[in-house]
Symmetry: C2
Subunit: 310 residues, 2 copies
Amino acid sequence: MSVTVVGSIAFDAVKTPFGVRERMLGGSAVHFALAASFFDEVRVVGPVGDDFGPEHVAVLADRGVHTDDIERVPGSTFFWSGVYGWDLNDRETLDTQLNVFANFEPKLSESSRASDVLFLANIQPDLQRQVRAQCAEARFVALDSMNLWIETARTSLIKAISEVDCLILNDAELRQLTKEPNLVLAARKVRGWGPRVVVAKQGEYGAAMVTEEGFFALPAFPLETVVDPTGAGDSFAGGFVGYIAAHPHEPPHHELLCRAMAYGTALASFNVEEFGTERVARLSSDEIHDRVAELGRMTRFIEKPLTLRG
Amino acid sequence: MSVTVVGSIAFDAVKTPFGVRERMLGGSAVHFALAASFFDEVRVVGPVGDDFGPEHVAVLADRGVHTDDIERVPGSTFFWSGVYGWDLNDRETLDTQLNVFANFEPKLSESSRASDVLFLANIQPDLQRQVRAQCAEARFVALDSMNLWIETARTSLIKAISEVDCLILNDAELRQLTKEPNLVLAARKVRGWGPRVVVAKQGEYGAAMVTEEGFFALPAFPLETVVDPTGAGDSFAGGFVGYIAAHPHEPPHHELLCRAMAYGTALASFNVEEFGTERVARLSSDEIHDRVAELGRMTRFIEKPLTLRG
């Protein structure tokens, strides 16, 4: 079985309190694919320009990611540049050059269409729907989006969401999309549109999930040094969706999804420890397992009987 | 054994998306005391004015809280008024009238001084130190503060913090106090000043704790309806500190503190379900236990072996 991801492949220029990088491999599909590659075969669908060299392909290929559906288009690769503030919670986009991404029409090979799990990273919602339609047999489909599409293509976006199993969105965007400030009610509204699973990404505070069986939440893994938050959300999605893909014979029930949240949290935490894809690209299985185990210890309390003064 | 709390007793006027209340019993000492009253005897130290009637004393007394050290002073009781925005995360203070609180000099009876657990709610740090000195025998002392004292009395505040076992602070204020945006490093800095335990209150995202044994975090309990967030932090502190007080023969080790976090989280969640003190005043022991158990289910994932593609 395998996971197909459709999204951006990019070069990022990033400034954080820990340094500056002028040009790094990035993009939602890349961060997702590297994280998910620990769990299953991954196929990346997205466009790159003439400036995308074999050394960039190698970052994905070295992790066993299938790059056949990376489409080469004359022009430059999608470029994003941003700067993070003192506490890394605020980021300002300095420049976005869509380049070859502007006219992206996803073309999925037979293998990519045959994946049993699909992640629709943040692209125009009508394109997400096209891809979804091409992967009619996928047993689990998750979708991410962003404020731009909520503001400019809300109706299309809600249609796209209605056709997937799981929405993964930043919590501020979940509020904006649903016009509902309360997370429980926002998730209920989204679940009314179709998805069985709603995940709110909460940045440094972690992530929360709502399914038919209820609520689940984990904090972000605590780190002394967060070097570059870019791609954390997509790395989370890669760990989360990848974990589901790694269990092809088990339907994604609540308890499995809770474990998936832990793996997503672990992958996101590695991603932010270094710039770009550096840390995840050389990650080991043991490091992932250790971090998930540590996260368990950091969130588990043992109930003991106590008589209260009622 | 018992808990003494020194802090404000107030009338609050609050406007939230769910309604308006012109004059409710509030204040940090009141919210703390009601929450802690489920765990141990509680003694409240703080000033009130002529407008503080027997019906207000009764709210505390009905929960078994000792009110002998509530000092009656000619004038009006401390008054605070504020308005909450659409998503309840932003609040604007409209009015603060210190009234009898302006010249507060804490006077502790022998019984209050003899408490084995002490909570120094948010008051001027030099007053916190005076109280701390009067309770020399207390086995566990926790302290809260706010941006006002960080900005106007930082040196005194750090001295006060250095004399307690536990700092409980909003995470934005923890950053401001330590000038350190990273929670792990901020907590380490505070622990270097003296406290063994640092708790960062994170509002709707819950709370995180750092002790010598490491990190622990819990999300806020998810609620469909948050009516009035006023006092959530003090209710959290009441549940947390109260839980420690309920275990007089057990030193507050990491695992006990993790359980205390769960009870703090539960008490805070009840507090915000209704205006002012209404919900906690009529809370039952079973409701608290049920919510703690539910919180456990909402944060626990079961690790299972999985071979990753390393």
